[in-house]
Amino acid sequence: MSSDVRFTDFKSDKQPTWCPGCGDFGTMNGMMKALAETGNDPDNTFVVAGIGCSGKIGTYMHSYALHGVHGRALPVGQGVKMSRPDIEVMVAGGDGDGYSIGAGHFVHAVRRNVDMTYVVMDNRIYGLTKGQASPTSRSDFETSTTPEGPKQPPVNPLALALASGASFIAQSFASDALRHQEIVQKAIEHDGFGFVNVFSPCVTFNDVDTYDYFRDSLVDLQEEEDHDPNDYEAAKEVILDSEKEYQGVMYQAENSVPYNEQHGVTEDMSEIPDGAPEDAMDLVREFY
């Protein structure tokens, strides 16, 4: 494909079935623009989607894509990147996919630091199953399965990432289109696991964490002039701040060495000879 890829090339001809006004529209647009802007094209991009409203993203985008099992998007994405370092890998899923059923994978994907991007469309609710509490729902958030609220603190995904040894932690807001795109772009360009938690409001089932709420309360780290994303202590402070929520790049490790480099996994593994490797009889002779 030519180098003048437009973001619409990443769009499939399938019309999204997300509710009008869903944050996922903005999240997806930013992802497509960021992919195009960083010089990728659909034929060298692999998008892995989770399950839930967010998981539909693979269908609405055009690229190599897999929409898999609930919670397992990250392992799939890692398998792609480990075997094909030449391919751009982007994983997208929801807060349930990433922080509940897939939480174990999240921790280890972060640790491995595979050079890929993970976009979590965090709406703090289970939308596709029509409104149950998610791992990021507030403790007093009333839903059909938690009539008095979950009565447990929400997961702080950024802190979870930090504790797992993340090399890139960011947060964006679907409706702040330019900033969102810019932040995702930074995650793509990061040498390692670029994690972006995106506030992607559910207009149907979440009347607490709304567009208005984020618009009014979200603090942009870009405007907090003294925030240096390379400063671990500063990152810790904003991530653990219980008073405010932020958008921007909280943390970016300067010394990040991506998995493939760490393990010397540099080859395109899709290419193999027509028969056994030439020196394969040596493998047999090892057993003398």
Binding site: Y64, A65, G104, P273
Partner: protein
């Protein structure tokens, strides 16, 4: 058949039983003798009885028997555990200086060797097992020099002094027996040959088969008895441009494998027990996204945590039917260690020719058993690789729809769709566990649903017609008694034939490596007067399938003690079973 010798060393886990046994097995193999090893072990790092057993002969050996001729006993329990196998004249090597008082049964020969003291003379008590090997050499008439090469192989990395000390330890053991015991009457004469054999187990054969087949990616989570496949591949796969990754769990392992497979790498995962339960979650996705990959299940005793270090063939139904919904798949179960190699190669080809998951089902017995083979048994030149309908930049054009979109799930006549991988221009497409149209986009339209289900099942029909789903056969083809087996029981059955022949029991053995699709045995069963299905499980899962296929009843021999079949035991069971009434229709 030439005389076989059955030797074992037993003690506590952590006593170095395994490595000592392996040294002896390698020495025998280097001396041109055939070897078949087996292990009794527990799921713990230290403590508990463990033993390494070797059956050796100048002829091929492919089973254990219920007989132990020479036992190196580091504990009393080793003797007690093996009383059934020990016989009049068995020699038991023990260390009388140790605190336990060995109770050697009267009719057996106790060979008291100060293993620890002699080892200390040679440079360290740690070598007491090697002293015992030297003693065993003297008793069996096996030249102690044959140990040298395997001692070098085992200890070479630790420096020449260590190697020399071990050689000395072996000689001290040999000389002690020579000087203090007359063992000529035992009559062992370990014949040697000029043959060059390799000695390997089933998991090593699977790992080697994977590399030969072009596997480049392996993700797994440690679990007995599958871990040794991963350990074999680690480091070696990298030499061929591949990678092994230890995942955080089996859910991740199978999904990483799926990711790599979709990216175009030949990929495999292996597990056992509860690991295969976890992986079941993803079986359906592999099948509906039409991803070619190999899922290996090295069966162990279940259910639940069961007996993790014991043998069982209990996962046949899991491999055939595991997962919700109807999942097209192939199930291949190698019947021997060489077949572990060849069926692995075949599994990769089947996966890519039909864009379908292939279950490679092995078991614990095969995974720990080492056997000797001529190296030509793994002739790498005979390995063929067929990548199926993998399309390149040009071929992809034939599969675009009118709007230039790649038809990744094209409903072809043979049911096999083209496969494009990332990087292929114009090949970008969606794959999903949702029902989808030809382009991979979700749909619930009834016509498309039926089209895709039929298409996926048609692949299996195509494979049934295009591929050979044959069985392996032993014994007399025209015998009136038919014994059917699957998986690792083959070796014991083949050797059981010799015992049966001595008893004038005429038997035809059919060993089935393909569980699905599988050979149609209706005619063979029809032609036989009696049919027995042999397997290591309690309910007879393969017998059920055979009865279903042939619409008849069969007799069953089931073993679920956690120990594999032995040739002599099996011969006896078959003889008994043949006299029993056929179960009611």
């Amino acid at each position: 058949m030439a005389a076989d010798l059955n030797w074992a060393i037993g003690g506590e886990a952590g006593d170095g039983i395994d490595s000592t046994g392996k040294i002896f097995a390698q020495a025998l193999s280097r001396a041109g003798r055939h070897v078949f090893t087996s292990k009794d072990f527990a799921s713990r790092i230290r403590g508990g009885y463990t033993a390494y057993k070797i059956r050796t002969s100048v002829d091929e050996v492919q089973s254990v028997v219920d007989r132990l001729d020479i036992l190196v006993a580091l504990t009393q329990r080793t003797i007690d555990e093996n009383l059934d196998e020990l016989h009049d004249g068995s020699a038991i090597i023990y260390d009388g200086e140790r605190s336990w008082d060995a109770e050697i049964p009267e009719e057996m020969r106790g060979i008291d060797v100060p293993l620890k003291s002699l080892a200390e003379d040679a440079g360290g008590a740690i070598m007491r097992n090697i002293v015992a090997l030297g003693a065993a050499c003297e008793i069996t008439g096996f030249d102690v020099e044959y140990l040298d090469e395997s001692l070098e192989k085992r200890f070479g990395g630790k420096g020449t002094q260590i190697v020399e000390n071990n050689k000395e330890a072996a000689r001290l053991g040999q000389e002690y027996v020579q000087d203090n015991y007359d063992v000529d009457d035992l009559g062992y004469d370990m014949e040697t040959t000029d043959e060059d054999y390799v000695l390997l187990n089933g998991n090593e054969a699977i790992g080697m088969g994977a590399i030969a087949a072009g596997c480049r990616f392996y993700a797994g989570y440690p679990i007995t008895p599958a871990t040794s496949i991963m350990e074999y591949l680690t480091g070696r796969l990298e030499e061929y441009g591949g990678h092994v990754v230890q995942a955080e769990d089996e859910l991740s392992a199978i999904n990483m494998t799926l990711g790599a497979a979709r990216a175009g790498a030949r990929s495999m995962t292996a597990t056992s027990g509860a690991g295969i339960d976890l992986m079941t979650e993803t079986f359906g996705l592999v099948a509906t996204s039409e991803t070619p990959m190999v899922i290996c299940d090295v069966m162990r005793s279940g259910p639940s945590t069961g007996m993790p270090t014991k043998q069982e063939q209990g996962d046949l139904n899991m491999a055939l039917y595991g997962g919700h919904g109807e999942i097209p798949r192939f199930v291949v179960a190698p019947t021997s260690i060489t077949e572990c190699f060849w069926k692995t190669v075949e599994a990769f080809n089947l996966a890519e020719k039909y864009n379908t998951p292939v279950f490679l089902v092995s078991d614990l017995a095969m995974s720990v058993t080492e056997q000797t083979f001529p190296p030509e048994a793994f002739d790498m030149d005979a390995v063929e690789i067929d990548r199926g309908k993998l399309v390149d930049d040009e071929e992809v054009q034939e599969w675009l729809d009118s709007q230039g979109r790649f038809r990744a799930h094209a409903a072809t006549e043979d049911g096999v769709s083209p496969r494009s991988i990332p990087g292929t221009t114009d090949g970008a497409h969606m794959s999903t566990g949702l029902e989808h149209d030809e382009l991979g986009r979700r749909t619930e339209e009834t016509e498309v649903r039926v089209q895709q289900v039929d298409k996926r099942n048609r692949k299996v029909e195509t494979a049934k017609n295009e591929e050979e789903w044959d069985y392996r056969e032993f014994g007399n083809e025209d015998a009136e008694n038919l014994v059917i087996s699957w998986g690792s029981n083959e070796g014991a059955l083949v050797e059981a034939l010799e015992y049966l022949e001595d008893e004038d029991v005429d038997v035809r053995v059919i060993s089935v490596p393909y569980i699905f699709p599988r050979p149609d045995l209706e005619d063979e069963i029809e032609a036989a007067e009696e049919t027995i299905v042999v397997e290591c499980n309690a309910t007879g899962q393969f017998a059920d399938v055979i009865e279903h296929d042939a619409l008849t009843r069969v007799k069953r021999i089931n073993k679920y003690t956690g120990v594999r079949f032995k040739a002599d035991e099996l011969a006896e069971e078959i003889t008994t079973k043949l006299t029993e009434e056929v179960p009611a229709q």
